[in-house]
């Protein structure tokens, strides 16, 4: 997938901006983070009989204004109401060499740009496994999401250096199904990020 070069980058931060219409996007299949990779015995026991990570697919697009990397993630919303947990999404980068399917592990982490509905901005995280995350403060990450026509569109705007690895993955949390931590649907493969 090519990172589109767009001038006047400010509007790219807006998930509904018309600039995104001309940017190539790739649809990727998602799969649940395996139960046996979940980090605590409580989660493995409590979720043994519950399905999660069933969001089937998401689409990814990337653009830059030469200053920042913008990643736009879209997926279909599960409209069941849930007042406790919120829909969330992440762009995942292989910095640290970790595996995508488990969102890294103890030795090899992945870098995560995280957005959650109802909370302002984005969170830059280092993930050492499903839900095993640390916040990286002062990362200069921005994020905004918009629910339109039954689909979420979320845009992250962060340091261009994140594209250096040339790959990005996607993780989706369905808040309607109490998904959080490592209970996510993750893209099966990395998507290539090519400088235009």
């Amino acid at each position: 997938m090519k990172i589109a070069k767009i001038s006047g980058g400010a509007s790219l931060a807006d998930p509904t901006a018309s600039a995104w219409a001309s940017v190539e996007s790739v649809t990727v299949p998602l799969q649940p983070v395996p139960l046996d990779a979940q980090p605590t015995s409580y989660i493995r026991e409590a979720w043994a009989g519950r399905s999660y990570g069933k969001t089937a697919q998401a689409s990814v697009a990337a653009a830059t204004d030469g200053q920042k990397l913008y990643v736009r993630l879209s997926w279909k919303d599960d409209e069941r109401p849930n007042k406790e947990f919120q829909d969330a999404v992440a762009a995942v980068f292989p910095d640290g060499g970790g595996a995508l399917g488990t969102l890294g592990d103890a030795e090899k982490p992945v870098a995560v740009w995280f957005w959650e509905n109802g909370r302002s901005g984005g969170n830059s995280l280092t993930s050492h496994g499903p839900g095993v995350v640390r916040k990286d403060p002062g990362s200069g990450l921005a994020a905004a999401g918009e629910l339109a026509g039954g689909s979420w569109n979320v845009v992250f705007g962060g340091p261009l250096a994140a594209a250096r690895s040339g790959r990005v993955g996607v993780a989706v949390w369905n808040g309607s199904n109490d998904e959080r931590g490592g209970l996510a649907a993750v893209s099966r493969d990395w998507v290539s990020l090519e400088q235009a």
Binding site: A46, E84, P130, D178
Partner: protein, 351 residues
């Protein structure tokens, strides 16, 4: 509350434990309010009552918490799935129709009531003084609850980020900078004593007043209790009333030990007068609070504990002396505070 950056705070070593004497608790809520005023006054903490006092039998807080699962299966050692308590189950502070009642010209017609749909009305102490049983054998008692700072804290082991740590002094504390708000701890805790701050997106619970403990001051729930019903101390300290009541005399028992987390809050079970028979004669065989109910809370040892209390009382009535009763009476209130007798008024407050 952040810890000191190393993930631990120091208040000395040895498991801290509380004893609540349910025969002395008058349900005044001074402990819960003292805690609230000290720790949960900020926006996002409105529904949080790290110390709560409920009328038993009752649904308590969060509503129906005893049926929410969680804890550890004692036979297998495995954690059990638990329910994530909702905002409605905790309930909240309500807006009331003050204007309508006081100024609306509705004298005799309108009465004060929360402005929320009837089915959603609940709060920390919503079923106060309801209790159970039929006149003349109706009954109830008060049950103060805090986080049990369990020896086997399933909240700690459920957390994927390592935000919760069991300290050297046995307190279970959360580093809020590490907490991601995933709330597996809330699901896993069988006592449902963890709250969620929807504004700051972190879970919160009783911190055992550790900054007070560090300064030698007893926790607010202990020091402020006008009923002299709450003791604190270290279980390993053989001179501590907590040690004596729990380990030596066995008149203070854990609640719902079957939840498998080995709680460190203990209760002196409530005694009650004899039942009245239908002809109003006294049924000396059966106490007003059914034994089965107390057993469901405090386990089979409750009968021995009540028996001990009863025989000690008889001893004193007969002119004898009872160290157990003297301890429970706490002739001087500082006896309740263990080693934490420092007067907070003599310290410089930190902001």
């Amino acid at each position: 509350m952040s810890t000191n950056g190393t993930g631990t705070v120091s208040t000395g070593s040895g498991q801290l434990a509380w004893v609540f004497d349910l025969n002395k608790c008058i349900g005044c809520q001074t402990c819960s309010v003292a805690c609230k005023v000290l720790w949960t006054r900020e926006s996002g903490e409105e529904q949080q009552w790290w110390c709560s006092v409920n009328t038993q039998p009752g649904l308590g807080t969060p509503k129906g918490w005893e049926s929410m699962g969680g804890g550890i299966d004692v036979a297998t050692g495995k954690p059990r799935a638990g329910h994530q308590p909702t905002r409605e189950e905790f309930g909240g502070g309500w807006d009331f129709n003050y204007y309508e009642v006081f100024y609306g010209g509705t004298a005799g017609k309108a009465h004060l009531e929360p402005q929320a749909p009837r089915e959603n009305r609940w709060a920390m102490n919503w079923d106060e003084d309801q209790g159970a049983g039929e006149w003349p054998n109706s009954y109830y008692f008060y049950l103060p609850r805090i986080c049990n700072h369990c020896t086997n804290p399933v909240c700690v082991s459920a957390c994927p980020t390592g935000a919760l740590v069991k300290q050297e002094d046995g307190l279970v504390l959360r580093d809020e900078d590490v907490c991601m708000g995933d709330r597996f701890c809330m699901e896993a805790c069988p006592y449902k004593k963890i709250y969620f701050n929807y504004e700051r997106h972190v879970a919160q619970q009783c911190i055992g007043c550790f900054p007070r403990i560090e300064a030698g001051v007893a926790p607010a729930c202990v020091r402020q209790c006008p009923g002299r019903a709450v003791f604190i101390g270290r279980l390993s300290d053989e001179d501590s009333p907590v040690h004596k009541l729990v380990n030596e005399w066995k008149v203070a028992l854990p609640m719902h030990a079957e939840y498998g987390t080995r709680p460190n809050v203990y209760y002196v079970p409530p005694m009650s007068p004899a039942r009245l028979k239908e002809d109003m004669s006294i049924d000396t065989e059966n106490p007003r609070i059914p034994n089965e109910y107390l057993e469901s809370l405090f386990g089979p040892d409750v009968h021995t504990a009540l028996g001990t209390l009863k025989s000690e009382m008889e001893k004193v009535r007969g002119g004898g002396k009872s160290e157990i009763l003297s301890t429970l009476i706490a002739y001087h209130w500082t006896e309740l505070l263990g080693p934490f007798t420092q007067d907070p008024a003599e310290l410089t407050p930190v902001s």
